[in-house]
Structures are given as structure tokens and as C-alpha cells.
Amino acid sequence: MPVIFQSLIDELQNIKSSEEFAGSRERIMEDLLRMKTEHEKLNFRYERLNKEKNILSSLLTRTSADLKKVSENLKIRAEELSAILATIPAYVFFKDRNLNYLLVNKGFAELVGIPAEQIKGRSVKDIFLNYNSSDYFVTEQRVIDSGTAMYNVEEEVEYNGRLRWVNTNLAPIRNAANEIIGLIGISWDITERKHFESDLMHSKELAEAGTMAKNEFIASISHEFRTPMNGIIGLAEILKNTVLDEAQDDLLKGIVSSAENLLALVNDLLDFSAIEAGKMELDFHPFMLDRVLEDVFQVLNLKAREKSLGFSVIINEDVPKHLHGDSQRLRQIILNLTNNAVKFTEQGEIEIHIRLLNRAMDRALLRFEVKDTGIGIPPEAMNLLFKVFSRIKQKQHYLISGTGLGLSICKKLTDLMGGDIGVESVYGKGSTFWFTLPFELSGPKLQNPYNTQTAVEVSYSGKKALVAEDNLINQKIVSFQLRRMGFEVELTDNGQAALEKFASMDFDLVILDIQMPILDGYQVAKAIRQQEKGTSAHLPIIALTANAMKGDRELYLEAGMDGYVSKPFTSEMLQQAIEFANKAAARKITP
């Protein structure tokens, strides 16, 4: 019974008279009113609870059903996750903020040979003996600190006495308040891949070394080919100037043709090995486009006429003539494509056509087309063109010689010069090989002094030439060619002897082989220039060389030489070199 009731009862029982009641009346009334208020409140609450009962009951029932559904879903998700973790071919682990394991999957436990429940609460150092990868700890700590995932963390760990490589992806785990509470890691054993990579790297190094050795061998052997080739071509030329009957003349033509083909092959191999070795350097200089095309025309017009083919060169009027670029390589590409055109065309004509594609400020983009009416290219073979050693196997082609290097070299050269190359062909009707190249424009006065020029018959009658060459065959060829030009020739087979002759006699021309015993060509040239010092004399000196690489010319000029000619060379090439050296020497003579 509430205290207030008991006190009220006690008070009423103790009232003995109406006077006493009157005295207590006010207090009793207050108590009764307070009781009434409390009763009203309780009554309200009771009614309210009755009213709320259904609402709260419904809410709780519904919520309970919701929670049951959520619980069932969570159970399903947990089972799914558990199955995934158990079967995933990876090592999965969860860690707390202190980087201690919270949970690992079956794969992880099997890997380290410790039951999953025993791993909980332990650190990586407790699990992997001899573990000292501080970098890995730093990485995990960074994931915790920054909240950023880290991928492909590779480390080598030891377990079961074996060293294994593992690759790990790490990601932070956050709670509902977005606070980082740990991390998840997924690792894969990449030991096999590491071994494979290592083997692959080793194989790659071996392959690269092999390729380099191959290229060096090709360069070296090609170079060695050039010296005897010089002999064959030179001697054939001498022989051509003797009296031969028709059969002998035919045989000689065969020798010359075979030698020229072999020389072309050697040159291709040299270029190819230089390109493959990354040693092909371009030699940019001012030149006239007309001259390059005249040269190509002269070289191939004869061949075209022999096959009764028409041969024409068309240069559009808007094509700039004075260009800056590598004229020798341009000539090589045009010659190669045109040579092919002649080779694969039995009737009709060959046309070289040059167009201006674009011109802006001091640059021009030109398109060169070599069009033939030959056998064309079958569609299935189009994609083989420009690839190394690929040749089209077609019955009609069996009689046609070549290495398959030509178009490949053309492509490499156009690539090097920033251009493009391609072909359009209708099988059986002909082909148009084209390439585009960008050039800088040069002024009309800037002409390449080394540009090929048509040789003019000049007589050097009464002039004296000193020739230093250690190869007897080359001695014969040079002296024959010089004598044909009218020179009197003094021969020596080493540099020292050449200097002695120079000191004792007057000469109008000196021709020096570069590689000679005792003193080489450079040393002789330098000595001659030394002796000329203080005088107005400047004797024309020409280098004979089997080298044909870029940079050689600079070496000769630096040694004081006025020109050079590469072996093997023809009389025309030698005469051009002499002409040029004379002019260069004349410019250097102090008046």
C-alpha cells in the first residue's frame, strides 16, 4: 500500500473529535488532491499504454520479422563468404589496427601449417620465422594510416623451410562510422612466376647477346666481302677495255652482273645490320632533288631500255627543289623501289612521280611514287611486304633474285626519316610503291658538295699521282683507272714509303688507302699537311676506304683530306672524287 494512503488512514483513525478534524482538514484535502492527480496520471498512462499496446506490438512484431530476415540474409552472406574464403586459390587474412591477425582463410592456415584459430592475435613475425621485412610492415602501416589500398606488394618469405615469393593486395577495413579498424590482405604465391620471369630475363639477355653477335658478324663479314668485290669489279672493268670476242664479252657481262648483284646484297646486309644494331645514323645536308633523280634515272634507264620498258620521272611543279635531308638514303629508297619495278616488269613502263603533299613555313612533305605495269602483288601477299626476309613465292618470281631485305630496309629508312611507306597493287596489272618523307627546305645556294654528278671526261695528261695502297689488286685497278685518265702513277704499298716519295717528287694528286701497314692513310695525310704549313701549297688528297659508315667522311676531312671514294668504285666514281678534291683543294690554297 502506498505510504500516502497509510499515513492518511493513520491520521483519520487518530482523530478523536470534530475540532481535531477541522484542524487537519486542509492537509487531508491536499493529500487527497495529490492522490487524485497521481491517480489521473496513472490512469492516463494506463489508457495510453493500452492504446499504444497494439502500435508497439505491431512495430515490434514487424521489426522482429525484419531482424529475422536480416539475420537470415546475414547468415547466407556469411556462409557464402565463408565458402569463398575457403575455396579461393589465395591466402586471405584480416588484421586489426595493431597488425595482428584477426581471421585467416583455410588456404592461409594450410600454407603456414598452423590452425586458423591459433593464428588469431599473432603477428606476421610469429607466423613466418626469420621474417625481417620491415618494408612490408611499413606498407601495412601506411594502409592503416592513409586509408588507401596498396596493390602488388611483393616480398619473399620463408615457410616450411622454403623461400617463397608472394604478391599481396592490401585494403583498409572501415566500420559504420568510417573509421579504419584494420585491413584485409589477399596474397598469391608467385614463386613459379618469379622463376619463370628470371628464366625469361636470362633468355632475353642471351637472345639479345646473340642478336648483337649476329649483327656484328654480318657487319664484319660484309665489310670483308667488299675488298675482294672491289677486285672483281675493278678487274672486270679492266678486262672490258681489252679486245674480247663475243663469247668472252657475254661471259664478262655475266661476271659483272653477278658481282653487282653480290655487291647489292652485301650493301643490303650492311644496312640491315646497322639498322638492327641501332647504328644507322642519318646524314642531313642540303641537296637538290633534281640531282638525286637524275642519278637514279641514269642508273636505271639503261636497265629499263634493255627490257624495252618506258622510263620516266615526273616532278610536279610545286615540289621544292632545294631540300635539306639525307640525299643518299633518299636515293637508296628510290633506287630500291625502282630497281624492283624494273625487275618485276616485262612490258609497259616505269614511272617515278613526286608530289607535294603539304608545305608549311620551312618544311615540306613529299610523296614519291614508283609505278610499274608489272606482274602486281597477290592480295594475300600484301601484308608480307616490308617484312624482313619475306619474299613472294610465286612461280613467276622463281627466276628473280634478291634477299627480301630491300623493302624491309626501305621501310626502316622511311621510319627513321619520319615518313611512311606503302603499296597499292592490282595483281597482274601492276603496282605503285609510294613513300612520304618530310624535308626541311634549304636555300638555292646551299648545295650538297657530295651530291652525285655526272662525270665529264677530263684528261689529266702530264699530271702525276701518288697512290698508297697495300692490296695488289686494288693497286692495279687504281693505277689502271688513273692512267686511263692520263695520270702518271707512282705506287707504294705503305704510308711510310708514300711520305718518302712525296718528299722526293712533285705530285698533282695523292690517293691514300686508309688501312695500311707502318703509317695509315690518316697519318700520311696529316704529315703532308704539316709539311705544307707555311706555304701556299695544298695538294689534293683522296682517301680510299672500304668503310662506308657515317662519320668516316668527317674523319678524313679532319685529317686534311679533300675527298674520299668508297670501295668498290668505278672509274666514274674515282673521277668524280678527283674533280671534287681538286675544287676543294683550290679553295684552300692561300693566294
Binding site: 492527480t37 492516463f44 498512462r45 495510453r48 499504454l49 508497439l56 512495430l59 515490434l60
Partner: protein, 376 residues
């Protein structure tokens, strides 16, 4: 600042009380009037219009007045507070909300308030069934700043949910707001807002809503979800909606309560007193019974420690508290009256507006929002 207060149940009684309290030469310039829609407010406004006072008036869902003469909690009555504020230290404006969003209305009212005083304190009442209280607050804050001092409530209509009214000495609006602005350099205006409601049930997601209209909860029609979970009959809505608001979770442990003020049966949508954003995580909520009284008492005592001097207390108490506590509601009101021993006037609202101490103003449901005004 002199303050006189009275309560009555009739317009006649109102006139008599007014005349009686001004018989001694007291000349109030502001009247705070909270009245049931049962009374003829046109007569009340006409009477006050002749007295040359500014009127801060609102219809109610029950009104109360605690002073030295007694403690009155009534339904169908009227409470009035007469004040003689320092001329130039206050102003009053009534704003019609027809054709404007609640946010736009708030901006218009806010612009006016900051033109009257550089640093105003705002008392605001707005039509409970037509104004989105949250958007009104945001609109005022948009022009007057987040830190504006502002207290008030949404007018009620004795739980009929038909028409709620705010009024001044000149006019009454069922879609509008009345602002009484005070110069803060003259008056201290502080207050608290406390609820005590608790979350019930699992989290749910608001999957479709626009402003204060919620179309779907967990991809189910909102009205269906509400009725199924609370097992309420269609005819119980929207009345019951104010007692069982949705609790919108903010950053833990913060939350805000949003009461259902209306329903769109055709679209099976619920219309709330404030904005309920799409994607919000919500739960149902309920009062935990008489425990909330102790909660309120504790908060009142804390506030008294913070601000113990007052000339007048105005209380905006959610009508749901009255429904939940019944006669026990007097205990929490009494706590405030007893502490300061100054007149306390107020009404049961359809929504409350207020700052919690120095925090920025917000719109609430289910709260006991108490404001203290003290002339400096």
C-alpha cells in the same frame, strides 16, 4: 520591461482581461497571443487592432500559461502576454506564403529581419499545415546567416489538421509566417530544444522523396509501410503521425525527428513537417513514457545554470508530448516555471524551431523548445 499575462476561454473574457490589466495605465506595445481555433480569432484581431499593439499570434493545439496566479493548461482557450518593450527595440512582420515555397518565404522574411536590425533575434510562428518548417528555417538562414538566433513553432488547430493560422494585429494567414524581431543589443534571447524520443525498430531507407513528401520506404509505398508497421487504421492518420515520427539518422549519435502532418492517399505518400531527403536512413520512433519528463527536467536545469535570469519564458512544446504525457505534461512545464519564477506562456505545436544554446538554429518535431527573453 513590464509583462502581464492572462488566460481565458472566451473572446469576451479576453477583452475583459485586457481592459482589466490596462486599467492601471499599463500601455503594452506587444501582445503574444496563442489561441485555439475554436475562438473567433477575427474578433480577437479586430479588438487588438484598436489597441495599437503589435500582435505575435498563432493558433494552437492546446495552450498554457504559468504565472503567479496559477498554472493553466487548456484546450479550446487562449493565453496572452502583454509587454511594453522599448520603442525601437522590436518590430513585427506578417508574411503571406501563397505562391512561394517555404524556402522563398523564409528568404523574404529573413531579408526583412536583417533590414530591421543588424543583429536580430527572431521569434517566428508559421502555419503548421502549409509550411515546411525546415525549408522556412533554411530560407531565413540563407540570408540572415547560419548563426541567427531564432525560436518559434508551427501553429496547430487542436488536432483537426484542417487549418492552422498565424496572425498579427492587422491580418491572419493560413499560409504564412509572423516574425517578431528583437534587437539583440537590448535583449538576451536564449533557449534549448530537447526531445527524449527514442528510435524503435530496424533501419529503413527513404527510397523516393521530394522535399517533405515521402513516396517510398524500402521501395514500398510509404503510407502502406507506416500503416503496416504501426498497425494503424486509415482514419487514425494523420493524427497519429505526429506521435510516431520518423527518426532520421545523421552522423552518429545525431538525429532529427520528422512528424507526419498529412497523407496523400492517392499517391500513398506521407507528408512530413520538414524535409526527409531521399537516401536517408530512418527508423520509427516513440516516446519512452514518463521517462522523457526526467530527461526534460535535466535539460531545463542545465539551461538554468547557463542562463538563470529572465523576464519572460515562451515554450513551444510539440503536441505529441501532450498526447504522450497527458496530465503529466505539467511536470516538465512546471520545472521551467519553478526555476525562473517568471511568466511562462506557450502552446502545443505541430513543429518547433530553435537554437540549442549557441548552436545554429534547426527545425524539430517532438521537442520541448524553451526560449528565455531578458532585457539587458
Amino acid at each position: 520591461m513590464q509583462v502581464k499575462t492572462f488566460s481565458t476561454n472566451t473572446v469576451r473574457g479576453f477583452r475583459q482581461n485586457w481592459d482589466q490589466d490596462t486599467a492601471d495605465g499599463f500601455r503594452p506595445n506587444v501582445a503574444v497571443v496563442f489561441s485555439s481555433v475554436e475562438l473567433d480569432l477575427t474578433e480577437v484581431i479586430a479588438f487588438l487592432g484598436q489597441k495599437g499593439v503589435k500582435v505575435f499570434g498563432s493558433s494552437s493545439c492546446g495552450e498554457f500559461l504559468y504565472n503567479r496566479e496559477g498554472k493553466v493548461i487548456s484546450e479550446g482557450g487562449l493565453v496572452c502576454c502583454m509587454m511594453d518593450l522599448i520603442p525601437g527595440s522590436f518590430d513585427l512582420g506578417l508574411f503571406n506564403g501563397i505562391g512561394a515555397t517555404s524556402f522563398e518565404l523564409g528568404k523574404r522574411a529573413g531579408n526583412w529581419a536583417i533590414k530591421v536590425f543588424k543583429d536580430p533575434a527572431i521569434l517566428v510562428v508559421a502555419s503548421g499545415l502549409t509550411i515546411d518548417g525546415e525549408q522556412l528555417v533554411r530560407g531565413i538562414q540563407d540570408v540572415a546567416g547560419q548563426d541567427i538566433t531564432m525560436f518559434g513553432g508551427l501553429s496547430g488547430d487542436d488536432a483537426h489538421f484542417k487549418e492552422t493560422i498565424v496572425f498579427s494585429e492587422a491580418s491572419a494567414e493560413s499560409n504564412g509566417a509572423v516574425l517578431l524581431v528583437l534587437d539583440k543589443s537590448v535583449y538576451d534571447v536564449n533557449g534549448i530544444a530537447t526531445s527524449g524520443w527514442v528510435s524503435i525498430g530496424a533501419d529503413k531507407i527513404i527510397t523516393s522523396s521530394v522535399g517533405n513528401i515521402v513516396y517510398t520506404i524500402d521501395h514500398e509505398p510509404a503510407l502502406d509501410v507506416y500503416k503496416q508497421y504501426l498497425d494503424v487504421r486509415d482514419e487514425d492518420l494523420p493524427q497519429i503521425g505526429i506521435e510516431y515520427p520518423l527518426l532520421i539518422r545523421k552522423k552518429d549519435p545525431d538525429f532529427v525527428l520528422r512528424a507526419v502532418l498529412n497523407v496523400d492517399r492517392e499517391k500513398k505518400a506521407l507528408i512530413f513537417a520538414g524535409t526527409v531527403p531521399e537516401g536517408a536512413v530512418v527508423t520509427f520512433s516513440s516516446s519512452p513514457g514518463f521517462e522523457i519528463i526526467e530527461h526534460t527536467k535535466k535539460k531545463v536545469n542545465e539551461f538554468y545554470e547557463f542562463s538563470s535570469r529572465s523576464d519572460l519564458l515562451i515554450l513551444f512544446s510539440c503536441m505529441a508530448r501532450h498526447s504522450a504525457l497527458g496530465p503529466a505534461i505539467s511536470e516538465e512545464i512546471d520545472e521551467a516555471w519553478t526555476k525562473w519564477n517568471k511568466p511562462l506562456i506557450g502552446f502545443f505545436t505541430y513543429g518547433e524551431i530553435g537554437n540549442n544554446y549557441k548552436n545554429s538554429c534547426d527545425f524539430y518535431n517532438q521537442t520541448f523548445t524553451l526560449v528565455s527573453i531578458k532585457q539587458k
